[in-house]
Chain length 255, copies 2
């Protein structure tokens, strides 16, 4: 079972869009996928049609040890893909767990029962490096970093890689950045190309070849309740995420 | 003195780009502007050329009552515009101030000494609704909401407006959403137009007429150390932010 945190403290870079659409593409290729929403804004939960204002139990309750992840899994319109949803209650975690001993490993412990039942566990992280993201980094073996192909992308990358290394040292020796995903690639300007080139220079062995291009369909589908693979199966958005999914699956040989 | 929080919990919608470029445009039109960076990622501080890894004193120290905002103001390449910078130390605020009595009003108190010295205080908020944003909302009279003209924009708007109303009720009766700014407007697709139309239907009296269009120059200038008004004075980015600044100044008559 591969456990992957989709992490980038910069806002709006494509974490949620990748969580949902890479997840759905992996499921379409036959993998059993659990998407864990770790953002109190619940974007990936709402995207998949879950009413986050009427959640009986959510990731908040998992963090408090009241339920397991299996207890809160929702089926989705995608065969082989389930969602463990979140809502604003999760924001309180940063405060309520501050004084709990071993508060970084709570999520790690809740992932182990899933071991033999699923192929991919994907964690959609919020735009910050707080307790929720640290829990994600402590719980998984792999980090994928979605990046918007704009100049600010690289500044944040250094801070993020430092945080990953810190968690690796202190809490989770198995942790690796195993992928960087160029998102929202603007085919009309040279800027995107230059940014990808600079990421390649610095992180060539990590950057996926599949680039996710800007596409109106990808911007539209979050309120459709469907991932791009169902909303617009012939679109460039589906092409790009399916290409990425195949590349991710190829990486299984090294694990 | 107008005090304005640039707030939206959604990531990457243009809060920082607006803080820097609206601030610089107001300064170009003769206003004395203080830009307060409230994001531990320090994007607006770095943008204006401040080395956030070597900050002697920052907003963190203001929150701890060790210095005043005046003590930490940096001059910038823009006449009439100063920056009160932040860096990652600020992230600790969410935890260290949790148990402090009246921890929502710390920023409000630190703004009052600035009253007669400046025309505009602009607060660049992080992508969350935590203690830093609540402090911003408690400290100011006005909220401007930058929105990316994509479908997800409207979902988050409801949550944000609810939070503003909550702060207004409990902590700051003078607080008003006085502006919504359509950012990153994509002129090539109909999607942006439809989103603006829907915002207009719901919030017609708040939406600024000036729309900020997508522009490569705006995406490039964050690492130049300059706002768009200096980096590319003839560009559409400068046009749009100068138009917005004039519209904002017109709003002074109602204050
Ligand atoms: N390839 C793309 N083409 C067009 N629009 C996109 C693309 N990828 C993402 N978007 C849109 O850009 C916005 C930001 O994307 P998304 O929400 O996935 O980022 P995020 O990193 O999860 O943001 P946050 O930090 O707020 O969690 C959304 O409106 C999304 O629909
Ligand atoms: N009008 C525009 N045209 C092109 N690029 C833009 C425009 N406005 C913002 N950007 C770019 O989009 C990205 C997100 O913008 P910005 O950092 O201002 O958003 P933010 O709301 O402050 O994000 P965060 O939530 O992470 O603080 C940045 O790379 C920025 O340079
Ligand atoms: Mg997200
Ligand atoms: Mg910002």
């Amino acid at each position: 079972m591969r456990t992957i945190a989709l992490t980038n403290q910069k806002g709006g870079v494509g974490k949620t869009t990748t969580a949902v659409n890479l997840g759905a593409s992996l499921a379409k290729l036959g993998k059993r996928v659990v998407l864990i929403d770790l953002d109190p804004q619940g974007n990936s939960s709402s995207w998949m049609g879950i009413n986050i204002n009427e959640l009986d139990k959510s990731m908040f309750d998992v963090f408090h040890g009241d339920v397991t992840i299996s207890d809160i899994l929702h089926e989705t319109c995608v065969g082989n893909m389930w969602v463990a949803p979140s809502n604003v209650a999760l924001a309180a975690i940063e405060r309520t767990l501050v004084n709990t001993k071993e508060n970084d490993s709570i999520l790690k412990n809740s992932l182990s029962p899933l071991q033999d039942h699923y192929d991919y566990i994907i964690l959609d992280c919020p735009p910050s490096l707080g307790l929720l993201t640290v829990n994600a980094l402590t719980a998984v073996r792999e980090v994928f970093i979605p990046l918007e192909t704009k100049v600010l992308a690289l500044n944040g990358l250094v801070t993020l890689v430092n945080t990953v290394n810190l968690v690796k040292d202190k809490l989770n020796p198995a942790l690796e950045v195993t992928g960087i995903i160029a998102c929202m690639f603007d085919v009309r300007t040279t800027l995107s190309n230059e940014v990808v080139k600079r990421i390649k220079d610095k992180f060539h062995d990590k950057l996926f070849n599949s680039v996710i291009r800007e596409s109106t369909k990808l911007a539209e589908c979050p309120i459709s309740g469907q991932p791009i693979t169902l909303y617009a199966p012939e679109s460039r958005g589906t092409q790009d995420y399916m290409d990425l999914a195949r590349e991710v699956i190829e990486g299984e040989k090294k694990k």
